[in-house]
């Protein structure tokens, strides 16, 4: 097995340029499960854990190598809460934002946060860089637009992040669970609201009709909250699987949406 372990971005991009089909290894929390269960036998690996540029978190740009442990202690409460629900301390110390994007699981816990913020994903290959909106990057369940030779540099968040924000996730216990339904909500002081849900569709779902409806409500009545929940539940697109049922996920989506909105309104 060929192995490259660059410490700088140039080295990582050179390695991927020389071997575009190499398997990119970050925290290993997804990749090594595939290796251990004999689903993956990489011919070559580029380990990016030590690439210093990917560790950077400057203002609204979060490097792909930032771990959940760092997100948990970071300045964005909704992202911190999402990170806190990931796995265990062991997993949060290893798993990264770039890995969440690279795996692009419908249940990726950081993804509804990026979706609700309309984050842009920055991709770099040797000699070129491109930026895709989150829903251009995540193209389906465990599918994304990353091309051979490209590396996820990180996520760029908008200049202004709404002060009212919350994240919640439903699982069968508080630790070590994959989301049955997850939800992230941001609300500006003027009422403008965005909401994204995970594990209820092939990629994170933005409930746009619900957003439009509730953004027009400066002080939502109980009836408005109910209507918001109903619209969210209507807009998600869940399936039955081994973790839960579509019906439960649809119900949970409405409940979480209403709960998070109430939570930020009463702050």
């Amino acid at each position: 097995m060929e192995t490259a372990r660059p410490t700088h971005l140039d080295g990582a991009l050179d390695a991927l340029d020389a071997d575009p089909d190499a398997t990119i290894l970050a925290g290993g929390t997804d990749l090594m499960v595939s290796v251990n269960y004999h689903a993956l036998r990489p011919a070559s690996v580029v380990g990016i854990r030590r690439v210093v540029e990917l560790q950077e978190w400057e203002g609204r740009f979060i490097g792909a190598g930032v771990t959940y442990t760092r997100m948990e202690r970071g300045p964005i409460p909704a992202l911190a809460q999402a990170a806190r629900t990931v796995g265990s301390p062991q997993i949060r110390n290893a798993g990264t934002l770039g890995g969440n994007l690279g795996t692009a699981s419908p249940a990726g816990d950081a993804l509804p946060v990026l979706a609700a913020l309309d984050a842009e994903i920055v991709l770099r290959s040797k000699g070129s860089e491109r930026t895709l909106r989150w829903d251009e990057f995540i193209t389906g369940p465990k599918r994304n637009a990353l091309q051979p030779g490209e590396l996820i540099l990180g996520a760029r968040l908008p200049e202004s992040i709404p002060p009212l924000q919350a994240f919640a996730k439903i699982g069968i216990r508080n630790a070590m669970v994959i989301a049955i339904t997850s939800c992230c909500l941001f609300r500006e002081e003027d009422g403008t609201t965005t909401i994204a849900l995970g594990s209820v569709g092939p990629i994170p779902i933005r409930a746009r009709r619900a957003e439009e409806m509730i953004s027009a409500e400066a002080n939502p009545s109980s009836a408005a909250l109910n209507e918001f929940a109903r619209l969210v539940a209507d807009e998600v697109s869940p399936i039955d699987d081994h973790r839960s049922t579509a019906a439960y996920r649809r119900h949970a989506s409405g409940v979480l949406a209403r709960r998070l909105l109430e939570r930020v309104l009463t702050r």
Binding site: M32, V33, V35, V45, R49, S88, P89, A94
Partner: protein, 152 residues
């Protein structure tokens, strides 16, 4: 061939392909303390300290640890002197079948060595990735509680 420091000693290893650090520790270095159970990061029985961070060794690719510092459960005691976590668990009867014990010792000693004065809730959160199926969480948390901020 990779070179790294394991429990303070320089070691070399020749991992096969993408094998995990857990496999290398057990099958090549003869360090059987780290246990192999789930191989997917769920159970914590293979917990080690890699470059100062608590991780599951089953999710670490050995070739990616070249030059790293690894501490396994074998490196927690100081010679014949048990770490206070080991002492507390032995005295508190916090071991039943013992399979999860190495991971618990590594995780709890890492928490306390970091200078934390944990509450019971802190302890439970810190051990959320260490599964005990006996299930002896009560005894484990009570034993470690003697080292916590809520002791006495």
């Amino acid at each position: 061939m990779i070179w790294f420091v394991v429990n303070g000693a320089e070691r070399t290893a020749d991992p096969v392909g993408p094998e995990s650090l857990l496999t290398t520790l057990r099958d090549r270095l003869g360090l059987y303390g780290s246990k192999n159970a789930c191989e997917q990061g769920e159970c914590g029985s293979c917990s080690v300290i890699l470059d100062g961070e608590l991780v599951c060794s089953c999710l670490v690719m050995t070739v990616d640890t070249d030059g790293s510092d690894v501490v396994t459960v074998e490196g927690i005691a100081d010679g014949d002197t048990l770490h206070r976590v080991q002492q507390a668990m032995a005295q508190g009867g916090a071991v039943q079948c013992g399979f999860c014990t190495p991971g618990i010792v590594v995780a709890a000693s890492h928490l306390l060595d970091g200078g934390a004065v944990p509450t019971e809730e802190d302890l439970r959160e810190a051990l959320a990735g260490n599964i005990c199926r006996c299930t002896g969480y009560g005894a484990i948390v009570r034993a470690l509680g003697t080292l916590s901020g809520e002791a006495e």
